[in-house]
């Protein structure tokens, strides 16, 4: 094994050696550079292997043959080796990436690069304070040099700003160092830590100065304008280095300093970190320049890690797992993104749409933003999980909340960016692809997945990359070249196969959900057969969603549950984004969903109280002061998914704009995930009271109002799919209401809703989707009279609306019957008023749907359209059959669950299934008899009418009695637009978009705050220096205030 000192000696020696070469020997010089970087990486890598795998002890390197503190010593342990490997590898990649630039600038540039990397390693290794200073100066000066490699002339300005600030930083640090030395008589970091610097007069002030100096290199808000300018203008490969390597090394330097400063500085670290994290993410929200955005994101991530460092007192042995996870995720992602930015010619975020011509690069982008946001299965996810749990266990909930808020902001702008890539105008001409650069980027992707695997292994929660459903979904990535039909067969086979395999392991309750999600998904996928070509991106996304769903159902531990939750959220986001105009809606879906997911995370974390391996079932044992809060957090999180009123505004756009076969998936299936979560929550935690308020009562109100608002809004929609989408809000409100009733039948009703809503909403979405496909519009008033042209779609819609409205004899009635029986035992009755009002309103929109689309006057332009494609009709017909079967024998699905639910409500409420009659404590119901009686009456009358009027001829379209006029234009005769005008007059005030306005105001507030606040970055280098000074002074005052003036 080669001593780690050779990383430094090698880098330095090679840099000097380059000076010996004739200026013309560029290739040779480049070879030496690469070889040296590779050598450095190899040394670092071999030590990392030794530490990580063989469990070697940290190596101490004593220079000058003298023991510290009398000579400088270096230490290399696991963290140091890992960081060194990270930095050298990034350096190596950067050298490869910058080949052109390095060749142009010659050996000098290569020497600077080598010294830069070497110095960073020095910063990490050294245990001597002044030596740290020297290495930091080296980093700073070489940064000054490398910034100039940019072809952007603005880099000059950025460089000089950086140097001005650096001057200030070095002064503070020097003064601090010498006073610290004076106080302790040593320059050795460990020696100082042992000497308890804070006990010496002046010592803590000296430490303060050093700390501020190094922290300033982390680019804390607001003293970071210079850093952003560098990110924006430097060569992307250097920006990557600046973010990854400098950031990592400086963080480690701060970590070492915290040893000296001791625990009293940890809160300050967290405070600075979190302020930076949130401020930078906020500012990034209004960026349009890609590299500046990445700069803000870098600043934010480093702020986050700094926050984590400030929490090391409670993180214990997980500290390196968490901080390392976030750091590595940040490193790989940021490097990758900066490298990608080098492939895009223009600098606006929207110009990245050019990437779309290269699916592989889009995949790379997705990988990187997933890494940054901390989505499963990447390291940030595991880190986020552990961090949240440890913070919550210690009651640091404010911090947890702020971290999650910042992460949400970050997700918002990153995924908005992704939306641009997928949806905006762009062509291959916007790309400047070079093999070296592409290879480097793809290399980062590989590393990202390797890290994902590694962190999964280390996590102690089980590796997500061992989960078969997830792997199955990922399998579709390499198979993207196959035609869509083949992939569709695979997907259906996968869903059905997995259901078949896991069937024995489901209990009755899980079975309902599994049946809806897996074979149910397969059924909807039948509609996907009608698509042509390869349909790139659809199958990985869809299968990711289904993988998440299938993992969710069987999740036992809270970790598995949450991982599945995020998986399905992300998968569905990609699915929704595929719609033609869905860019803003998909984003809003994602932001709300992630927001909800973060609440769930916080809820689990609070519940677990530090138990990493928390079982869902253990929610029942959560102790008193936390229980209601846990309940509230989880409930709101799940209700975000079911689009309860208040957090429903994402749903209409997302469901309406999705593709024809995606809408039923996200509506019919995905919404059930939220119900599943609520079920699990209520099953385990039951009723909870917060400040004397029964939380399930609050849920009752929310459910009722959702039902009302959803239905009301649905009747005023002109867009058929939006109508159905709002209808889902209402329907989910019913289900939520049923759950919140907290009795046997309420839950049974909610379960029945799971099945019913899946069937009829999928059917309606498919039917309407087919119509929209044929007519090319979703505006209902532009259709009309399609019944003769699209009879099968009409039948599906008719059956669908009868079922939705709950009119006997179809299965919707069963739901209503159970509902009435359920509310009989409810202990709280007021919200019923609202839910009773909501019921009939459903008729309005349902009638509108069928009337304005299929009945009334056929328009001229649609006279020749055909029935929807076979593959869209087929699942609808299967749904019709299923609906009939379920209407006749609901026991097939419900009997077992009914028994299953009995364990929660001992003794009362379950139904009796005697013969064909279903009876409750209050009433009874015989679906078969109803069907037969109505069928007989109906068919008798119909037959008679047909018989007596057997000679009737269909009349021409306009052969109607019309107040002495004979209409001749379908447009003027089809009463369809603003259909419920009187209703709007009477109750329109209830549909004021208050919630939408509220969220718009929030968004607006964030944006304008960012817009105003970011003006502090005036671009003036002196101002930046003043920021730094102000930062130091403010922290000083805070510190004095916090410590009552030492």
């Amino acid at each position: 094994m080669v001593s780690p000192i050779y990383i430094i000696a090698g880098g330095l020696g090679a840099a000097f050696l380059l000076g010996l070469l004739p200026a013309k020997w560029r290739t040779f010089a480049y070879g030496i550079t690469l070889a040296t970087l590779a050598f450095m990486s190899w040394v670092a890598g071999s030590w990392l292997y030794a530490f990580a795998v063989n469990g070697a002890l940290p190596v101490e390197i004593f220079t000058a043959g003298t023991q510290p503190p009398f000579a400088i010593n270096l230490r290399v342990g696991l963290a140091e080796a890992a960081l060194a490997l990270l930095m050298t590898l990034t350096g190596l990649h950067a050298a490869l990436y910058m080949k052109d630039t390095l060749f142009k600038q010659g050996r000098q540039a290569m020497a600077i690069l080598l010294i830069f990397i070497m110095a960073l390693c020095g910063v990490v290794f050294t245990r001597d304070l002044f030596n740290l200073f020297v290495f930091m100066e080296l980093v700073m000066i070489s940064t000054g040099g490398l910034v100039l490699l940019s072809s952007d002339q603005r880099a000059l300005g950025a460089g000089i700003k950086y140097l001005i600030v650096s001057q200030l930083i070095s002064m503070l640090m020097l003064i601090g160092i010498v006073f610290a030395y004076h106080a302790t008589g040593t320059l050795n970091i460990d020696g100082m830590a042992a000497a308890h610097i804070n006990l010496f007069k002046g010592g803590s002030l000296a430490f303060f100065l050093i700390f501020m100096a190094v922290v300033a290199e982390l680019k804390p808000f607001p003293a970071n304008g210079w850093g952003l300018d560098i990110y924006e203008s430097a060569h992307p490969a250097f920006s990557a280095l600046f973010s990854v390597a400098t950031g990592g090394a400086t963080l480690y330097a701060v970590d070492k300093l915290l040893l000296i400063g001791g625990a009293q500085w940890l809160p300050m670290a967290s405070a600075i970190g979190i302020v930076t994290f949130i401020a930078a993410n906020l500012f990034a929200l209004v960026q349009t320049n890609d590299r500046r955005l990445l700069g803000y994101s870098s600043v934010a991530q480093i702020g986050l890690i700094f926050t984590v460092m400030g929490q090391q007192d409670i993180l214990g042995e997980r500290y390196y797992f968490i901080a390392g996870g976030i750091l590595l995720a940040h490193a790989v992602a940021k490097a990758g993104l900066f490298w990608l930015s080098g492939l895009v010619k223009q600098r606006q975020l929207t110009d990245w749409a050019a990437l779309r011509s290269q699916p592989l690069l889009v995949f790379a982008f997705v990988t990187f933003i997933a890494l940054l946001v901390g989505l499963p299965p990447f390291p940030g996810f595991y880190a986020k999980w552990d961090l949240a749990h440890l913070l919550a266990a210690d009651g640091r909930l404010w911090l947890l909340g702020l971290i999650l808020f910042g992460a949400l902001l970050e997700a918002a702008y990153l995924f908005r960016w992704f939306g641009y890539i997928i949806k905006r105008e762009g062509s291959e001409a916007g790309l400047a692809l070079q093999p070296m650069k592409v290879d480097a980027t793809l290399g980062a992707v590989v590393v990202a997945w390797l890290l994902a695997y590694l962190w999964g292994q280390l996590s102690g929660h089980g590796n997500l990359l061992h989960a078969i459903p997830l792997l199955f979904a990922l399998l579709f990535l390499p198979l993207e070249w196959l035609p869509a039909k083949v992939k569709n067969i695979m997907a259906i086979a996968g869903l059905v196969g997995w259901f078949y395999l896991s069937y024995p392991s489901y209990d009755a309750f899980q079975l309902i959900f599994a049946a809806v999600m897996l074979p149910g998904g397969a059924l909807i996928l039948l509609a996907s057969f009608q698509t042509q070509q390869r349909r790139v991106g659809f199958y990985p996304a869809a299968m990711l969603m289904f993988a998440g769903l299938s993992m969710l159902i069987v999740a036992k531990g809270s970790f598995d549950f949450f991982a599945a939750w995020e998986t399905l959220t992300v998968g569905s986001y990609f699915l929704i984004l595929r719609g033609k105009h869905s860019e803003p809606h998909a984003l809003s879906y994602l932001v709300f969903s992630l927001g909800g997911a973060f609440l769930i995370l916080a809820g689990f974390a609070l519940a677990a109280q530090g138990v990493m391996d928390f079982q869902i079932a253990a929610l029942a044992q959560v102790a008193k002061p936390f229980a209601p809060w846990v309940f509230a957090l989880l409930a709101i999180g799940f209700m975000t998914k079911t689009a309860s009123v208040g957090v429903h505004i994402w749903l209409p756009g997302a469901h309406a704009e999705a593709e024809t076969d995606v809408s039923p998936m996200v509506s019919g299936i995905l919404l059930k995930a939220g119900l599943f979560g609520l079920f699990v929550l209520l099953m385990t935690m039951g009723k909870q009271q917060l400040y004397g308020v029964e939380l399930t009562h609050v849920m009752l109100w929310i459910g009722a109002i959702s039902a009302l608002v959803g239905n009301l809004l649905a009747i005023f929609q002109e867009d058929a799919k939006r109508l159905l989408a709002y209808s889902s809000v209402g329907q989910m409100g019913y289900a939520l209401f049923g759950l919140a009733l907290m009795n046997h039948l309420g839950w049974l009703m909610a379960l029945m809703f799971v099945i019913n809503h899946y069937i009829y909403k999928s059917m309606l979405f498919l039917s309407v989707g087919g119509v929209a496909k044929r007519t090319g519009t979703r505006e209902m008033y532009r259709m009309g009279g399609l019944i003769t042209l699209m009879p099968l779609s009409f039948i599906a819609t008719l059956i669908g609306i009868i079922a939705v409205s709950g009119v006997p004899p179809l299965s919707g009635f069963g739901g209503r019957w159970i509902f009435y029986n359920a509310i009989m035992t409810a202990d709280y009755r007021l919200p019923m008023v609202i839910i009773f009002l909501a019921g009939p309103i459903a008729f309005l929109y349902l009638f509108r749907l069928i009337h304005t689309v299929f009945l009334g006057q056929l328009k001229d332009e649609f006279r020749k359209i055909k029935e929807a494609p076979f593959w869209i009709i087929l699942p609808q017909m299967i749904f019709v059959a299923a609906l009939m079967v379920f209407a006749l024998v609901p026991g097939v699905a419900l009997r077992k669950v009914d028994v299953y639910l009995s364990q929660f409500f001992a003794g009362n409420g379950h139904l009796n299934w005697e013969g064909l009659t279903i009876s409750s404590d209050f009433g009874y119901w015989n679906p078969v008899a109803i069907m037969v009686i109505i069928g007989v009456i109906f068919s008798t009358l119909f037959a008679w009418l047909l018989f007596v009027n057997r000679k009737a001829q269909p009349v021409k379209q306009f052969n109607i009695v019309f107040a002495a006029e004979r209409p001749f234009r379908p447009e003027t005769t089809h009463y369809a637009w603003n259909f419920f005008a009187p209703y709007r007059k009477a109750l329109g005030f209830l549909t004021q978009p208050l919630v939408t306005r509220f969220w718009e105001a929030v968004t607006e507030l964030l944006h304008s705050a960012a817009e105003v606040l970011r003006r502090i970055y005036t671009g003036n280098g002196q101002t930046y220096a003043i920021h730094l000074l102000a930062f130091v002074v403010v922290v000083y005052l805070l510190w004095m205030g916090g410590s009552d003036g030492i």
Partner: protein
Amino acid sequence: MIRRFAVFLLLLALGSIFVNLLMGYVPDSELNLTARYYAEHTAQDIGAANIVTAIVITYRGLDTLGEVTVLFLTATIIGMVLSQGQKHRALQRQLPPSGELLTTGSRLLVPLILLLGAYVFLNGHLTPGGGFQGGAIIASAALLLLLTDPLRRFSHRLISVVESVSGLVFVASGVLGILYAGGFLDSRILSTGTFGALFSAGVIPVIYSFVGLKVGAEFTSMLTNLAETEQS
């Protein structure tokens, strides 16, 4: 004006931090742990009379290596930055020759200055001074030559070879320290010799000489690079 006032206020605050430092400062009456060690051990361990030099080259040799690297880096960056514009340079304007006195004086002085520089760095382990000071003195010779003849061109090649070779020697002697002495940059790969003699204190004089050469070359390189830019 607002800016000035803000700066003033901030500096006032910073000043109060400094005042706090000043108030908390108690001069040592005894050498502290580290200094005591140096005072007691330098003579027999390293064999250098100038304890500062011993610290600079041996005990804190890594700092000095870094320091040399800083200069190397700066010189390299300056070379890189300024060479970017050089290709487009127009023909040099003819400048009037400098005065007779200066020319003659410089001819006389340059060798003396070089000698002085060499003396300073060779005796760095015994007397005040060393590689950096010596290097600066050597560079002043180059400066003098530049002043007398602004169009004089120094061989970049020579400068960079001197720079690189000295740097490599420094690193190499450091590595030799691992192999033949106590560790990286241990100066005792040569015998410590007789205390107070020129060739004593291990490899210190050698290193300091090369540091001197290197520093001199780097300063010269900076100066000439700047001198060669177009005078506008």
